[in-house]
Symmetry: C2
Subunit: 220 residues, 2 copies
Amino acid sequence: MAKFERIPTPAVRRLSLYLRQLERFRAADRRTVSSRELGDAVAVSDAQVRKDLAYFGQFGHPGIGYRIAELIDRVRRILGTDKQSNVLIVGVGNLGRALASYRGFAKQGFDLVAAFDDDARKIGTRLTESIRVKPMDDLVKTVAGHQIRFGILCVPATSAQAAAEQMIAAGIRGILNFAPVTLQVDAGVAVSSVDLAVHLEQLSFQLGGGRYGAGKAADV
Amino acid sequence: MAKFERIPTPAVRRLSLYLRQLERFRAADRRTVSSRELGDAVAVSDAQVRKDLAYFGQFGHPGIGYRIAELIDRVRRILGTDKQSNVLIVGVGNLGRALASYRGFAKQGFDLVAAFDDDARKIGTRLTESIRVKPMDDLVKTVAGHQIRFGILCVPATSAQAAAEQMIAAGIRGILNFAPVTLQVDAGVAVSSVDLAVHLEQLSFQLGGGRYGAGKAADV
DNA sequence: TAGATTGTTAATCGATTAACAATC
DNA sequence: TAGATTGTTAATCGATTAACAATC
């Protein structure tokens, strides 16, 4: 039982990939899957799959593999997405609006319940059927009222740090950041950043646009 | 001179962060920066900054630091973004449209020049001032005509693999994938995936929603 | 039973950090 | 010169892979 080992960060990321794939297997009415099959589907070695899962307990059955429905439950519990969490969004420009209409969040355990912007012309605007854009002043009240822990940050780079600080002050503890800046936050606040330019630059480097090209092309 | 060492993947990712920060310093009219200052700004140690840059050559000046303008040029050349690259987008749903209107690409060396969708009702629709949505059949011709190497993939998960194969067959060599699937591609094709649900799940895990919470909150 | 597959240990590989002589 | 800061080496730390006894 490995519960007290230190868990590698990359292992947690892969857990999400396994979960997504397991749900796909289940949708195809499969009952069990081996570490090899699961690994092949997400481009990871079988040993890696077993090791990643073993950090959290013994979920498999020698000779059989893993029972899909059971493993989905386990992984959800590990990730904390077995219960729905409320999410808010700050900054409703093009990207913010697109993310708000993304239907995939809810299915994975996240409910978008509020949206904020500091542009007076956007306040009161309808973002989705049930969500109207609120002023930043309402942040504290809304976070408390809906017990919101997660926030998606979609403001321009120049206002990102300030907006993040307002979110944190209001009680947000996890920020998904789309602004191309490194947010400076205190311990106890988790930040995950999605930087589109960074991703394109990685591709560019891999294609050997750089004169140092490793050439090895693989998923990042 | 370290040019023949193997370059760690994470180092390349950090190169993009350095570049973004260097541009910010230059915009603020600074001339030089030390590895410590640059590192502090992007939450990386000074030793790491020096090591990352040293993989590609000797860009710094002992006692002085790095000359910002010079380093920007070097890093752009390393990443292959010193010249503009043409980019296309496949799938113009909400997310695709939002990405198309994102102004940050061009500034970083990427020009969006074409968009595709397999939905007949979207063909001919205007995506931006200069771009109209084309049918997938035009992919080969357009990629060749504009010498496009990069593609942004924004179709639903179910059609992502097939769309990726069409892109690759047409000559695309780097794919920025927004569909929540692991694309299976041949060597020689680079894939970088942005999975929004994965990011939220990482945050959820870090907040200890999981019963195994590492607690340590830091940027991922 | 024979075949399949796990969980775990040990071996390997890769990345980060610390320290410092060389340099401006 | 004295102070600052690099590039690089060696030491540490962390993650992945290989191998296999235990199990169904």
